[in-house]
């Protein structure tokens, strides 16, 4: 093997850095949508590398549902300071008040869907023309068909039938006023690729990705953290378990995994051995309907 050879993670990294530089060059006001999850943490690492030694030339934007894990919020603030990026936080709570929206009801009342309102308002407020997201095509079948540069209309809607052909490594980010583009630099990464990259790069993660003790209830086989945002009913049994999170979203729609893994090596080994998909194991919201993601994307979701 010649020394002029990139391993698969280096190839993926080179492709993503290329995409980041295209974004910075083609758009006036890009923003990186940051959730505190491992995928957006990976995005920040790639953006850092793409523009080094300069700073990341766009802000990190967090659409805060108010249902976050405290550890993820602390990490978010730390990371923004660490990379010297501007952090913009907009709260779903405020959107609900301003727009007189109805809070979702139920045991796991999730504001996940309402995020779309806050996101579109934030895009409008800052006139963002490109929003960078950490979606991966291996996650789900609607995403498998979405472009790396995904053009959205004035309402943020994705129309799968009107996608631009995306050829070679040439990205066409031209848009009309009012439209914006969602860009997914890690489209071609799988969950395991992200974990392996985090391990190789020794990227620090929020503590909830590692084993810790937590009070949970068991709901349809999934472990849900006890929190003020989840309705605990009399017949719920609260257990103390050693858990970690495989993905980090809202406390209302993210399930924990029983685990004793306390290091990245141990976590990656567990992910390799698992026989259940990331969404299947940890996302409560996707189990509602088979086409849940397709519907949300068409409605302007990430």
């Amino acid at each position: 093997m010649s020394s002029y050879h990139l391993n698969y993670l280096e190839q993926l990294e080179a492709e993503s850095i290329h995409i980041f530089r295209e974004i910075a060059a083609q758009f006036e006001r890009p923003a990186l949508l940051f959730s505190g999850g491992k995928d957006s943490i990976t995005l920040v690492q790639l953006a850092k590398k793409a523009f080094a030694p300069g700073k990341i030339p766009f802000p990190l934007v967090h659409i805060d549902t108010g249902h976050n894990f405290e550890e993820a919020l602390q990490y978010r603030d730390w990371l923004a300071k660490e990379v010297g990026a501007t952090l913009i936080v907009r709260k779903v709570e405020d959107t609900i008040k301003q727009r007189n929206l109805t809070e979702p009801k139920g045991k796991f009342a999730s504001r996940n869907w309402l995020q779309t309102y806050t996101l579109l308002d934030t895009i409008e407020e800052f006139k963002f023309d490109a929003c960078i997201g950490g979606a991966r095509r291996d996650e789900e079948k609607a995403r498998a068909k979405e472009r790396i540069f995904s053009v959205r209309d004035d309402f943020g809607q994705w129309d799968p039938k009107l996608q631009r052909p995306e050829l070679w490594n040439i990205y066409n980010g031209r848009i009309h006023k009012g439209e914006n583009v969602r860009v997914f630099p890690i489209s071609n990464w799988t969950e395991l690729d992200v974990w392996n990259y985090i391990k190789t790069e020794a990227i620090p993660l929020p503590s909830i990705y590692f084993s810790h003790e937590r009070e949970v209830i068991v709901h349809e086989g999934q472990l849900i953290a006890v929190s003020p945002f989840v309705t605990i009913e009399p017949n719920d049994i609260i257990l103390k378990k050693m858990v970690r999170y495989r993905t980090v979203g809202d406390m209302t729609c993210t399930a924990a995994v029983e685990s004793l893994a306390t290091t990245l090596d141990e976590v990656v080994d567990e992910i390799k051995a698992t026989r259940i998909s990331e969404r299947g194991e940890t996302r409560i919201d996707d189990r509602v309907t088979e086409a849940a993601m397709e519907d949300r994307k068409k409605g302007g979701y990430f």
Partner: protein
């Protein structure tokens, strides 16, 4: 471990979905909950086996409207390699879909139904593979179970396809007899084809040599973005960020900035902020030059002893991808990697029939899925290579300035 990107060409009838499903299933890329969902959908099947084709089932919008959206990407990994499949449907809008999916592929699997042999569709897919210069071709002769794993049938198809390949000048072709449905010659060598000495499909995909596909001979680099931090400690920093399209660059190399035609020397090279002595394809890197030159996005940096063409008029093969036909008098934007210039299409020389490869006179407009030979005139010079010789620096797209759509794939020559 590296990455193999491949495209599967064929229709549902050829067993394409079953083949992809089989690869995902047998490489254990399908997890328990995903399998459970498939099993639910398969409950009507009498034999109790799961329907592997459902693993690549589309969106609800597709099912409701009976359409298929161009390309879906699938992923699987074995201990040897990561695989990215561009899954392009064979029927509807075939040329557009295939070109989109094939543009990044280094291998194509052409599926042939053993009962049907080489048909028009086989020919069409192979023509596109040949136009786009996909380096490796696997001819998957599928549904061998339906012809009793007959060596005669297999030999006949190999003979027929060899003739197609000869006409199209396709190189590196591998024939594999298989049954995607029953798993013969997919992961393990099948006992039913003792006459077949080659590798099963997955092993072949895992072991095919890819390092030679990367051109390390001709250094090509286009500036994507200029990094100028303009902070106190970095106020003199000016780095040209871009991807090494091909070749190797070393610190101290004498280079030419094009189209300006200015000679200078590489003073420093960086990858992700870390200094290095050399950079190579396909790395994303930063180049520093000795002299202060006005360089912006889209400019090329090449070695003085290995220079591509610079021109404002060039012959091209255009694959039209838009519902609106080509208007020869109109101005379009041509995007060549990161370089954007105004362009006009002139002299439509001939139309290429993608089913027969015959050249026909262009009568009327150029419509969706049609391929034409033409001349393009650009408002500013392009620095490029022949697509056939160096595809990474010989490909471009046309963008309609009024709709912003990507309307054509352009192969430069």
């Amino acid at each position: 471990m590296d990455i193999l990107r491949f495209i599967t060409a064929g229709s549902v009838d050829d067993g394409k979905s079953t083949l992809i499903g089989r690869l995902l299933y047998d490489s254990k890329s399908i997890l328990a909950d995903q399998l459970e969902a498939i099993e639910k959908s398969t409950k009507n099947k009498a034999n109790g086996e799961i329907d592997l084709a459902l693993l690549t089932d589309g969106l609800r919008a597709e099912r409701e409207q009976g359409i298929t959206i161009d390309v879906a990407y699938r992923y699987f990994t074995t201990p040897r390699r990561k695989f990215i499949i561009a899954d392009a449907p064979g029927h509807v809008q075939y040329t557009r879909n295939m070109i989109t999916g094939a543009s990044n592929a280094s291998l194509i699997i052409v599926l042939i139904d053993a009962r049907q042999g080489v048909v028009e569709q086989t020919r069409r897919h192979s023509i596109i593979a040949s136009l786009l210069r996909i380096p490796h071709v696997v001819v998957a002769i599928n549904k061998m179970d339906l012809v009793d794993f007959s060596k005669e049938v297999y030999d006949q198809i190999v003979a027929d396809y060899s003739e197609v390949a000869r006409q199209l000048n396709l190189k590196d072709i591998t024939y594999i007899p298989m049954s995607a449905l029953q798993g013969d010659n997919i992961v393990d060598a099948s006992a039913k084809t003792p006459w077949y000495q080659g590798k099963p499909l997955l092993e072949f995909l895992e072991t095919i040599e890819l390092s030679k596909d990367v051109n390390l001979e001709d250094p090509r680099f286009q500036v994507q973005y200029v990094i100028r931090p303009q902070t106190e400690d970095l106020h003199d920093y000016r780095g040209y960020a871009g991807k090494v399209i091909s070749g190797i660059y070393k610190k101290g190399d004498k280079v030419l900035v094009l189209p300006q035609q200015i000679e200078t020397t590489i003073s420093k090279l960086e990858i992700a902020g870390v200094e290095t002595d050399e950079i190579f394809a396909p790395q994303s890197a930063v180049i520093h030059l000795q002299d202060d030159i006005d360089i912006s996005r889209g400019d090329s940096i090449v070695r003085v002893d290995n220079v591509p063409q610079t021109a404002t008029e060039m012959e091209v093969l255009l694959c039209w991808l838009d519902d609106k036909p080509l208007q020869t008098g109109n101005k379009y934007l041509l995007q060549h990697n990161s370089r954007l210039v105004k362009a006009m299409v002139r002299n439509l020389e001939y139309k290429l029939d993608v089913n027969t490869l015959q050249r026909q006179p262009v009568e009327g407009s150029v419509k969706l899925n049609e391929v034409v030979k033409a001349t393009i005139k650009t408002a500013a010079p392009l620095v490029f290579d022949h697509y056939e010789q160096l595809s990474g620096n010989g490909s471009a797209i046309l963008v309609d300035e009024t709709s912003n759509s990507t309307v054509a794939a352009v192969l430069l020559s």
